[in-house]
């Protein structure tokens, strides 16, 4: 348990004790009667300030706000001493009757950091304390309690002269001085709000609503207590002035609740902003989203420059994390482990520092979002590499097949042809003289020719020469002519395309027709190749039984892979009974 936490618990225990004691005193000790509403508002306001003080102390351990709330609570409860039937506590209780007002002014002017902003404001707060005690002190010289609450009241130890006139004279001074102090405090609060930026400005908003209400209460009480009308003399007026109206002071602890809710809302907003961020959004968008969530339009997200020691924010402005501008705080973002100094920092208005949880969450969320974006870019780059390497592999395979076909053509096929011609010549030379040998040579020629035909078919299957020689249109035409499937060919673009694209489109037609021949014998097919902007669409339809499944055979899957290797897509529509439609869409610059 930290020292602060222990202190807060002790304060809490003391507060509870004070409240219980106060209740006992007010209820059982003989003395001037206390109306019920007075007791309720006394306890409610005092305890709520003490509770807010403890909560604030726990929430902002580094801030003085907890202490200020607690002091205000005690100073509010302290005048209850005046209910004791003894002269000393009675005198002290009455002496400190309105000093809580100074504590409230102190709290409001120190909001939301817990520090007063200038010497002038320290002076204003000191004046408040001095005036609230001094004014009571002086007026008690002339106050005879017996004229108010009768002879049952204890004695005023400070009384010098019970004459009412002297007290009235002081009362006339009290109104302008008290009002002037109140107005000054209110004006300062408004000015704080006007000059505040970012988180501080946001935190000032609830105070802007609360302060005028409390100032108005203070003004009404000042006027009421110090006019000759003595408004608080009547029982009903007293109930209103000291029973109902002080409930307005509950707005003080409400300020703490509001600021807690504000921070909680902002935490939620930061979370939502990160969730709503588009994947792979640039850092500028992240900054904007966080700035909106925190209500700090001055928020900067700065990155370590890759080619230098400095940082620059998302608009390119240089940022020096070691020397931020006055009023601004630098929070490094958690990055990959062991990375020091931080890759990225948040630069924000200093008010946010009083919400360490919020700033920690924001930094963590921003760090995560950036890490996510970095990983995504990495995956994207890897994917791009894999795509390129896949295309290269397919291309290299095509090239190898083209070479094998050519080697077969130039080598074995050539020799077989020559051999076949030689055999033919030999046969014609011996035709007359040696019929036996001629028949033998005839058979050899036939074998050689069959070998040539088989080799041709093999070479064509490895890589169609016609594709290399004439391009897609000629190759598809030749393919259709050789295919056992009765096929009509629509218009085929006559131009030449990059070899991988031509080969892919060709293999789609080839595989589709082979499938028709195999799975739908007797069916007719149609081939259409169109070239809309930026792509080539190859479509083969047949009127067979349908029912082809893309994942079932290795043929269609291999074809889909092949099409994907050039960045295209393959679609198969093959409802049972309505033929098969194979469509490949291939990007083509």
């Amino acid at each position: 348990m930290s020292r602060r936490r222990r202190a807060a618990l002790i304060v809490a225990a003391l507060a509870a004790l004070a409240a219980v004691t106060g209740q006992i005193v007010v209820t059982y000790v003989p003395g001037p009667p206390q109306p019920l509403i007075g007791t309720i508002s006394q306890s409610l306001v005092g305890l709520s300030f003490l509770a807010a003080g403890i909560a604030a102390w726990l929430r902002w351990p580094a801030s003085r706000l907890g202490l200020l709330f607690t002091i205000a609570g005690y100073l509010w409860l302290l005048p209850n001493l005046g209910h004791l039937p003894y002269a000393l506590p009675f005198t002290i209780g009455n002496l400190v009757a309105s000093v809580y007002g100074a504590a409230l002014a102190h709290l409001a002017l120190a909001w939301p950091t817990g520090r007063l902003r200038s010497r002038f404001e320290v002076g204003v707060v000191a004046a408040e304390y001095a005036w609230t005690i001094g004014q009571s002190f002086v007026s008690m010289f002339f106050w005879n309690p017996h004229t108010n609450c009768g002879p049952g009241c204890p004695a005023n130890l400070l009384m010098i002269d019970g004459s009412r006139s002297a007290e009235n004279v002081l009362g006339v001074i009290s109104i302008p001085v008290g009002l002037a102090l109140t107005v000054t405090v209110l004006a300062l609060i408004v000015r704080h709000w006007q000059t505040a930026q970012g988180w501080t400005r946001r935190a000032m908003v609830p105070l802007l609503w609360i302060a005028p209400a409390i100032c108005a209460l203070s003004a009404v009480q000042t006027v009421a207590e110090n006019t000759s009308l003595r408004l608080f003399a009547g029982a009903t007026a007293g109930n209103i002035l000291y029973g109902y109206l002080p409930l307005i002071l509950l707005a003080g602890p409400a300020l703490f609740v509001a600021s807690t809710l504000l921070a909680r809302t902002a935490r939620g907003a930061v979370g939502t902003a990160i969730v709503d961020l588009e994947p792979g959004a640039p850092p500028g968008q992240l900054r904007d989203a966080l700035a909106r969530a925190l209500g700090d339009s001055t928020l900067q997200l700065a990155f370590r420059q890759p080619d230098g020691p400095g940082y620059a924010d998302t608009t390119g402005r240089p940022v020096d994390p070691a020397r931020p501008e006055p009023g601004r705080i630098v929070t490094p973002l958690p990055g990959p482990a062991g990375a020091a100094p931080a890759e990225a920092v948040l630069v924000h208005e200093e008010g946010l520092e009083h919400e360490p949880q919020l700033i920690r969450l924001t930094a963590a969320a921003a760090g995560l979002a950036l890490e996510h974006a970095r990983l995504q870019a990495e995956v994207q780059a890897q994917l791009e590499q894999v795509r390129a390497s896949r295309a290269r592999i397919v291309e290299a395979g095509d090239e190898a097949r083209r070479r094998i076909e050519r080697d077969l053509h130039d080598g074995a096929q050539q020799r077989l042809v020559t051999l076949s011609l030689a055999l033919g010549m030999a046969r014609s030379q011996v035709a007359g003289s040696d019929p036996g040998l001629a028949a033998l040579l005839e058979g050899a020629t036939k074998e050689a020719r069959e070998a040539i035909a088989e080799l041709r078919e093999l070479a064509r299957g490895i890589h169609p020469a016609v594709l290399t020689e004439t391009g897609l249109a000629g190759a598809v035409q030749a393919l259709v002519e050789r295919s056992p499937v009765l096929t009509t060919v629509g218009a085929v673009p006559a131009g030449r395309y990059p070899a991988p694209i031509e080969a892919t489109a060709y293999f789609v037609v080839c595989e589709a027709l082979a499938n028709v021949a195999k799975h739908a014998p007797g069916a007719t097919a149609q081939v259409a190749i169109r070239q809309p902007a930026g792509r080539i669409v190859v479509e083969i339809t047949d009127d067979g039984p349908g029912g082809a499944r893309p994942g079932a055979g290795s043929g269609l899957r291999g074809l889909a892979d092949r099409v994907a290797s050039v960045g295209g897509t393959l679609r198969v529509e093959s409802a049972v009974g309505s033929g098969t439609r194979l469509q490949a869409e291939i990007p083509c610059p």
Binding site: H409, D410, Q413, Q414, R415, L416, V417, T418, S420, L421, A422, G424, M425, A448, R449, I452, R456, A459, R460, P464, A465, V466, E469, T470, A473, G474, A475, Q477, A478, E481, R482
Partner: protein, 126 residues
């Protein structure tokens, strides 16, 4: 039929050229050889062949290009394209070329070439 019509055999494959020479000389042709497209064009200018047996696949430029060059010249010989591949492997390229026709290499005979020559003369009387 003119005696000993001049035929230019264009092929980069030595073995084939040798067999073509033997076969065609036996069939009554005067045979000259060229091993590349450039050599074919140069030789054709000198010997003015009546028929050119032209392999489609040549080391420098392909048979279609050689055919275009020969056809653009003055003599305009009958050009017969040939290949170990089939005609269908060249799509429409053969019909769109100025060649008179295509003969698969393994079907080469003197009679086939005489046939092309006769058809060429009938089409284009001297």
């Amino acid at each position: 039929m003119a005696p000993f019509p001049a035929v230019l055999v264009v092929d980069d494959h030595d073995g084939f050229r040798a067999f073509a020479r033997t076969m065609l000389e036996a069939a009554g042709f005067t045979v000259t050889e060229a091993a590349s497209g450039a050599e074919a064009a140069a030789t054709a200018r000198i010997i003015r062949p009546q028929l050119v047996l032209l392999d489609i696949q040549l080391p420098d430029f392909d048979g279609f290009e050689v055919a275009r060059r020969l056809a653009a010249g003055v003599q305009r010989p009958v050009i017969v394209l040939t290949s170990t591949r089939e005609a269908s492997d060249y799509g429409g390229l053969i019909t769109s070329s100025p060649a008179a026709g295509f003969l698969p290499k393994d079907e080469l005979t003197g009679a086939a070439l005489h046939g092309f020559l006769a058809a060429g003369r009938a089409e284009r009387p001297a």
